[in-house]
């Protein structure tokens, strides 16, 4: 494994930042502005793909940008796990950009320049999180992401949106304070915050100190929306759907769980976590979230809020996988990041398509809509099947690994949690599919003018669903390969 030093990691982050400035400049010329977004998204994806072969071969790209505080530089490192997140973020950003253009134009939303500007900076921050080489750099990009997604959340500027925005900020900024405390405490204990495969905290403090440190990290990563600190996520559904899709699949929540997996594998290490009993703590929180969030989802009539609770539940699958402290469990956790991303974004894309084409947000009003928007609704059905964990979609892959991990880690009760939640997933998704296809609308006239959404929205929907199918058939390329390398990295340290 060699470390390649070069400016490539910084280039990937610089592209959307540069584009954001251009977006501000070309704000008045809408087509040029949209062109900037798309070009930047393509360029960014290309830059990430260029580094992919190197990472697959076991290399890592590093770059130290600036010395900052003693012991922590502002540094980037592209390793296998970071590449997973970066690939998800870059590819979905491209598709989301097309989708967003179609959505914003169809609804003739206001303040589009601010919208695309914030999206560009946000993706830069997300990639920055993926490529962070140490905790401090991660924290910096984390906070930038919080701030820059606020204007996106309150975009519609209604009083309800402002309230939701304040809730969003309150949760995330408070989490940021806890994260900062955790970073500083780590530095005090060990004198460094660099990520080391297998963890570097062992032996640096008493058990109680390290347990408290872990709790500080958990509260810091409130973006992972574990209960009971999940309240910001359903509230943030007032945002336009491309924002919700972005928040819930591409950037914000993925950054949260990414952070927790990073902490488990590269700061604490699985051995240390087993010793501290943190697996049990994490398993309890995750199980609670999975079950209770699914129950909340059952009660929601607003489609986007139902999907929000589904996201809360699905994210804790990742935490559950980490808590098993076994190789299969970790693999399942890491795999669920891209798998869930592609599936969830499909679902959100469909929800947005329904808003654009039919103006409907509540499930009860979507009766029979499947007949008017067949392609869209079929994509929804596919993605829903994927989330439930049925073939031929990718969801089953992560579920199998999680199940294996539960057995391997000696916690068969978590197997029960997975099965129960799978049943609950079906319970809150299948009725939606039924309503869409098989129910008769109350007033036939309301659905008269409904048809498929514009192509710029429809194509991304089909593509994300297609990728989910592809992952099932070709899991190795490239996600499972990358995850294998990452797991080898962190378990390598465990063996003497």
């Amino acid at each position: 494994m060699t470390d390649i030093n070069g400016i490539f990691p910084a280039v990937v982050i610089a592209i959307p930042l540069f584009a954001s400035a251009l977006i501000l400049a070309t704000g008045r010329h809408e087509n040029i502005r949209e062109g900037v977004t798309i070009t930047a998204a393509v360029a960014m994806l290309g830059a990430v793909l260029v580094m992919l072969p190197g990472v697959l071969a076991g290399n890592r790209y590093t770059l130290t940008l600036l010395p900052m505080v003693p012991g922590s530089d502002f540094a980037l490192k592209v390793d296998a796990f970071g590449m997973v997140f970066a690939l998800v973020a870059a590819s979905l950003f491209l598709l989301n950009s097309f989708y967003a253009i179609g959505y914003m134009r169809s609804l003739q939303e206001h303040a589009q320049t601010r919208f695309f500007f914030c999206l560009a900076v946000a993706i830069a921050a997300a990639i920055g999180i993926a490529f962070s080489a140490n905790l401090l750099t991660l924290f910096i990009f984390y906070e930038i992401l919080t701030i820059i997604t606020y204007p996106l959340v309150v975009h519609v500027e209604t009083p309800e949106a402002m309230k939701a925005g304040r809730k969003y900020l309150a949760y995330l900024l408070t989490g940021g304070i806890f994260l900062l405390s955790a970073v500083i405490l780590t530095y005090i204990l060990t004198g460094t915050t660099d990520f080391v495969a297998g963890g570097f905290l062992a032996g640096s403090g008493s058990h109680l100190t390290l347990q408290i440190l872990f709790i500080l990290f958990m509260v810091g990563f409130v973006k992972a929306a574990w209960m009971p600190a999940h309240g910001w996520l359903p509230a943030a559904m007032v945002a336009p759907t491309p924002v919700s899709a972005f928040l819930h699949a591409v950037a914000v929540v993925t950054a949260g769980v990414f952070g927790i997996v990073r902490i488990a594998g590269w700061v604490f290490g699985m051995d240390l976590m087993a010793m501290l009993g943190l697996g049990t703590l994490l398993a309890v929180i995750a199980s609670f979230t999975i079950i209770v969030a699914s129950l909340f989802a059952l009660a929601e009539d607003n489609l986007k809020r139902r999907l929000a609770y589904s996201t809360v539940s699905q994210l804790s699958y990742i935490l559950l996988g980490v808590s098993m402290l076994s190789i299969a469990g970790m693999t399942g956790a890491m795999a669920h990041i891209p798998i869930h991303a592609f599936l969830k974004i499909t679902l959100f894309f469909v929800a947005g398509a329904v808003i654009v084409s039919a103006g409907k947000e509540s499930i009860s009003e979507m009766k029979g809509i499947g007949r008017k928007m067949p392609v869209t609704a079929i994509m929804f059905a596919l993605a829903a099947i994927g989330i439930c964990g049925l073939p031929p979609l990718s969801g089953i892959i992560s579920k199998i690994y999680l199940a294996l991990g539960a057995v391997e880690g000696g916690v068969p009760i978590l197997l029960l949690v997975i099965i129960v939640s799978a049943v609950l997933n079906a319970a809150y998704f299948f009725p939606v599919i039924y309503t869409m296809f098989f129910e008769i609308p109350d007033d036939a006239g309301t659905l008269q003018s409904v048809s498929e959404p514009p192509l710029t929205m429809l194509v991304p929907i089909v593509l994300t669903a297609a990728v989910s199918v592809l992952i099932f058939f070709f899991p190795s390329m490239p996600f499972m390969d990358l995850i294998e390398i990452a797991i080898a990295e962190i378990t390598h340290q465990v063996l003497p």
Partner: protein, 502 residues
């Protein structure tokens, strides 16, 4: 004997001469005032950078006035600590003088403009003198020069409340100066010298004397009033709110920082850490009051309806951060405190400049009148957002860097609860900064105005001479944060110096 050797005294001499020149030429034609002030302050700024580089290369500069060596003569001492402060304050003074021109035209009556610039230059003189002097009584003299100039400048606004604000500040400032004079007298009685370096050498023999204790207390209380350290801050909100905008920028950044510098100087260089930690332990109490200041200032700021008053209470909170560094008294925390001296000056300068720009265009500083401001004044609001983000402590701005060092220092000293309070202070800062951001970016401009068409007609972006320094300072918040390593080259030796190192 090159020009470079004479720079320290030239800094002060040129400034005094300039103020006299402004008075003379202004009497002849009012338009000469501004260029003279501008050139003087800019050259002072350049000179300060040269001096700082000299200090970082060659060590402390000691300049004997009139070639009389101490303790008979007065010396000017520039080491890494006050070299850094000197550059910081002259940077802000330069930004303010560029900003001041248009602001002054609007807010000061034409007959007073000459006097305004004279006093402005005198204020800068006094503050620069305070920073570089090595003699305690000289410090008092320059303190009074700057204070008198400040009393008058604060009272020079068109608003009638400014007279009362200036008067109240005069009363409290004079009490403070009286205490400082008493403290200096007590020190002189004990040691027979007024030179700071000599005092540091001669005082340890007398640490047990009640005279020294009382001198210490008088000096601390006096400077705490000038610094507006909670609860001796009562003059600050009125003074900052009612004074003309350019004056607010100057006193909130330069004057406040020099007062803090003087306090640090007295505590660390004259009474060394041996005194303040071992013989007369006050650092614990200072730490406690600093944390109270942080919270109280922030809470009071949240409750305000006027933008300038909110920023004034925010200043009280931020001064608490710098005093926090003093309370923790270890190397890392002091580095954070010194960094915050520069950082807060830049941040607060930018924020008050935005407030001044809003007053310039709209004639009001009430928050409720600023709804939807971002549509008519986008650059100003963006500058506020950036400086505000630095205030909250969002990376990678300078505000985050200084807070990081402060928290790190507190953790290292084992003072966990205080570090937590400091972090809570950041959250509170987020609340009051966010009030403005919400109102400016997401408020409805037509909701509050009703039939007030006067407001709409004058809402344009600020003129360039006010916009440029404001945007420059906002960008500096970001640049200083990213390139903090460069700053640390000056700050790290300064912190070591304060703690008694090389």
């Amino acid at each position: 004997m090159t020009l470079a050797d004479q720079l320290p005294v030239l800094l002060i001499a040129i400034s005094i001469l300039a103020s006299l020149l402004i008075l003379a030429t202004g009497w002849y034609d009012r338009r000469f005032c501004y260029p003279i002030a501008l050139i003087t302050i800019l050259s002072q700024f350049l000179a300060s950078i040269v001096i700082l580089l000299q200090v970082l290369d060659g060590g402390t500069i000691r300049y004997y006035l009139g070639n009389w060596s101490p303790p008979l003569g007065i010396e000017l001492v520039i080491d890494s600590f006050n070299g850094f402060i000197l550059v910081a304050i002259l940077l802000l003074a330069a930004a303010t003088i560029i900003y001041a021109r248009r602001s002054v035209e609007k807010e000061i009556t034409p007959e007073k403009i000459v006097s305004f610039y004279v006093l402005f230059q005198l204020l800068v003189t006094g503050l620069v003198g305070m920073t570089i002097t090595g003699d305690l009584f000289n410090l008092y003299v320059f303190l009074e020069i700057s204070s008198i100039a400040a009393y008058t400048l604060i009272a020079s606004s068109r608003r009638s409340h400014s007279y009362v604000a200036g008067f109240n500040y005069l009363i409290l400032g004079s009490i403070a100066a009286g205490f400082i004079l008493l403290g200096i007298g007590n020190l002189y009685v004990t040691t027979g010298t007024l030179n700071m370096a000599e005092l540091a050498a001669m005082l340890p023999a007398s640490y047990h004397l009640a005279t020294v204790h009382s001198a210490f207390l008088f000096l601390i209380i006096g400077f705490s009033i000038k610094v507006a350290f909670f609860p001796l801050h009562l003059w600050l909100p009125d003074a900052y709110t009612e004074s003309p905008s350019a004056v607010t920028v100057l006193i909130s950044t330069v004057m406040a920082k020099v007062s803090v510098y003087a306090l640090f100087r007295i505590l660390f260089t004259v009474f060394t850490t041996a005194y303040i930690i071992d013989s007369f332990p006050v650092t614990g109490f200072i730490l406690l009051m600093a944390t109270v200041a942080i919270i109280a200032g922030a809470v009071l700021a949240i409750a305000q309806e006027d933008l300038k008053r909110m920023l004034a209470y925010s200043s009280i909170s931020q001064i608490g951060y710098i005093m926090f560094a003093l309370g923790v008294t270890n190397e890392i925390a002091l580095e954070g405190g010194i960094l915050h001296i520069l950082g807060h000056a830049v941040m607060k300068g930018c924020l008050f400049m935005v407030a001044g720009v809003i007053i310039y265009r709209m004639g009001t500083s009430r928050l409720s009148d600023m709804k939807g401001l971002s549509k008519t004044m986008p650059i100003s609001c963006a500058a506020f957002a950036l400086a505000g983000a630095s205030m909250i402590g969002i990376p990678p701005t300078i505000g985050f860097m200084s807070k990081y060092y402060l928290v790190l220092g507190a953790f290292e000293a084992g003072l966990w609860p205080y570090a937590v309070v400091l972090l809570i202070g950041s959250l509170l800062a987020a609340i009051y900064i966010w009030r403005f951001i919400e109102i400016a970016y997401f408020g409805d401009p037509h909701g509050g105005h009703g039939g007030d068409h006067h407001g709409h007609a004058t809402e344009r972006e600020a003129p360039l001479s006010m916009l440029a320094p404001m945007v420059g300072l906002a960008l500096l918040c970001l640049i200083f944060g990213i390139f903090v390593e460069v700053l640390m080259q000056a700050v790290a030796p300064a912190a070591l110096l304060l703690l008694g190192g090389a």
